[in-house]
Symmetry: C2
Subunit: 306 residues, 2 copies
């Protein structure tokens, strides 16, 4: 019972008010897989160049993340992104995007991946997301992410792709752009007519809102004392969310999806996103334990119950 995660594996250069790292492991699929790996076995579908370091392979492999689906292009270079955050870390400016081998990413799933039940489609071209979904034979829960660029410039393809998804997990500005509605509740209602029956809207430090069947659930963001680097927080949220559901075997059953489990998944998403910000890049996941995750989950309970 594994989770298939599709998306970028990359190197990032990041500057925040707390420091600067020129090159470190990054990419959406990396964060999603590392976060989800605390809850469920994960198999990655991605592509890297032959500059991808053995220590980074080793980190992923040490978490029982299957890398058979991670292609390596001889002579190619791994996707590189660099950015700098504003003083309050609520905005960031991209300094460099070298797609490199990611420009020709055309995911082909290994045979051993195609019968897995859980699929998370990270932010890539919508038609590639659709192609991956179609390669899966018996998926029980499919969802994913997208971004402004695809919403603006690949809208028909994105809308076609979304029809086959159970859930969509995007941030508030993407939800507004996709729906054309400024108000979040109206935006959610419109998006839930596009295909996914479940929608999670991330609001950065302010948490997330889950929408389904005319109900919604609001999770606050964890109040961190120190935010070192927000890079990957949204992807770590996604990993915690889908990882928890996969680990619990939660799937659509006769059109039903357990709302109580979905709410817990959103809290685990917030938990994983909050840990991600505590160190640079993926560093927090090098030491994070399941016990710390459970302790923070219970802190969420304490801080929100009334």
């Amino acid at each position: 019972m594994s989770l298939i995660v599709v998306g970028s594996v990359a190197y990032d250069g990041v500057e925040t008010p707390h420091g600067k790292v020129d090159r470190m492991l990054g990419g959406a699929a990396t964060y999603i897989a590392l976060a989800a790996g605390y809850f469920t076995p994960v198999k990655i579908v991605a592509v890297v160049g032959d500059d991808f370091a053995k220590e980074d392979v080793d980190l992923l492999a040490s978490r029982q993340i299957d890398l058979e689906g991670m292609g390596r292009v001889p002579g190619g270079k791994t996707f590189f992104w660099a950015g700098v955050y504003s003083a309050d870390m609520n905005d960031r400016t991209t300094l460099r995007t070298d797609l490199n081998v990611f420009a020709d990413f055309n995911p082909k799933l290994p045979e051993s991946y195609r019968s897995e039940p859980y699929l998370f489609l990270g932010n890539i071209q919508p038609e590639l997301q659709r192609s991956v979904r179609e390669q899966m034979r018996s998926v029980k829960l499919t969802g994913g992410d997208t971004m402004n660029y695809w919403i603006n410039d690949f809208r028909p393809q994105l809308l076609e792709t979304l029809k086959a998804w159970d859930f969509l997990l995007i941030n508030d500005s993407e939800a507004r752009l996709l729906s054309g509605e400024q108000n979040l509740r109206r935006a959610a209602a419109k998006i839930l007519e596009m295909g996914p029956h479940t929608l999670i809207i991330k609001r950065g430090e302010y948490g997330a809102v889950l929408f389904r069947n005319g109900c919604h659930f609001m999770a606050p963001g964890y109040l961190l004392e120190d935010v070192f680097d927000p890079t990957g927080a949204g992807d770590s949220f996604a990993g915690g969310f889908i990882g928890y559901l996969a680990g619990r075997g939660v799937a659509v059953n006769n059109g039903n999806l357990d709302f109580a489990e979905l709410k817990r998944a959103v809290i685990y998403g917030s938990v994983m996103g909050s840990f991600c910000c505590e160190k640079f890049g993926v560093d927090r996941f090098r030491t994070l334990t399941r016990e710390e995750i459970e302790a923070r989950y219970h802190e969420f309970e304490t801080c929100t119950a009334f």
Copy 2:
């Protein structure tokens, strides 16, 4: 067992993307009193000019809001403020501030007010807030609001005033300015060393956080489908918060203040702030019922429990 509310009673001119009203009843004390009035008897300390309309007196009086402490200056004009909101209503620009009779506001409490147990000091000059506090003989719970101007230009006076308060209720940017800390949790820790043992930080549409004794409680903002006019939402929050506590007889007892009741008070604050936005100015409070308030409180429970 009444609540004394001190602050501005005003006329406002407001423009939002949903419409424009040239002159309508406003002012912090007005919103606080109207919201608190659903939970407890209220007595207002304020000043108006002789242009203050009978229909506005009647509205307040109809809610059993005592107006003995609302001075009327013959030949004077009531405080007038006008502003325009941005398209997403997260920012507003002040177009006009005519202090008028409010410029010489020097609150003197009627004798019948001085033995009441609850006091909310709306946003006025800190030394005036202190003077009011000192006129009270047996107050059991004191708290209030302030703003950037007093934090920047009347800092010593404000710090002296805060020493006698049980709680401070401000928004996130004010908390950052007052503490000199960008991070909300660190900001709260610093402010709790200034005097108030309880701090509520409002975060606009994102809700509020209550800090006390090393604990915190996070309340989300209600997801409104239509925000017509955010004017007064923060003051309505304050009214719901202190009104609930006063109505329940919650006060400091041997240094203790019931945290469970404080959490409920924060939710009632959010509830009252959310209703305020549904119509222009105070209009929503003309028709709002206690039953609607309870229904929304329960909606908060449903949307946050996990």
